[in-house]
Symmetry: C2
Amino acid sequence: MQGHSIGALSRRTGVKVTTIRHYEGRGLLPDPGCTGGGQRRYGDSELDRLSFIAHARQLRFDLDAIAELIALQETSHAAHGDGHRIAKDRIIEIRDRISRLRRLEAELVRVVKTCDGQSDGQPCRALHALADHQACEGEH
Amino acid sequence: MQGHSIGALSRRTGVKVTTIRHYEGRGLLPDPGCTGGGQRRYGDSELDRLSFIAHARQLRFDLDAIAELIALQETSHAAHGDGHRIAKDRIIEIRDRISRLRRLEAELVRVVKTCDGQSDGQPCRALHALADHQACEGEH
DNA sequence: CCTTGAAGCTACAGTGGCTGTAGATCGCAT
DNA sequence: ATGCGATCTACAGCCACTGTAGCTTCAAGG
């Protein structure tokens, strides 16, 4: 065989066919060679690159960051500090999101508790609690 | 004064003017009365509702869920179990997101460590580690 | 060689929740 | 009456896809 079809690439990486084409449009994958009839045929290096992209996406890197990472890979030397920095930035961002989600969780628990154990004919107090921002500790 | 302008509402709630109009377009806020010249004038009930929406958005409810909550508020009786359920669903979702973010964090830390303390002329190993999904414990 | 059906193709619209733009109009203070 | 900030509508753009329509190509079986 002289190449993987887009569907084969999709099966191997778990990335949908349409998404692969989308990545190509965004410049994350090169224009692959084609069969006579205009279908994409990929080599192993494209398979590797797509795996890289897929994994980075699972880590919630955005496509611009991924493009930057790919460019770094290709210039090899400059790569060191920069790749490092990008990954570290992401860690900071993720820690921040975790702490905000924790505050969120705490408040939702509060909202539900306001309502728990009360089941008269009144409108649900949870809704009221939801409107009452005063009760939150800090922002979300 | 016989009503708040959209800008006044914006200042009071911290919701941007364009966003308020967007909420109106989505049916979350009623068509407000107008001045002769066609500008929006809001009463206190709209202010309350917008505060509710803003708060719910900070809690990451999506607009459809918020619309549902508002509808529940208006039918008062049915409200109880449903408002409860929606809030509880959100708690489950948030807990799930927190645990996924924690896995993410752990892996990024791993990626950065792969690279730490190595600063020869080699391409950054963090990039390689990023491509190497094998090393992850579980999905993200 | 021919048929068939799965897989591929392009191009474009839609998603959610806004944000930004352009160009016109309005309301209030001076 | 004038000036200027606030507001108006309508539409395009953002991100990372996803879905649709309507077509063409490829590979395997007869």
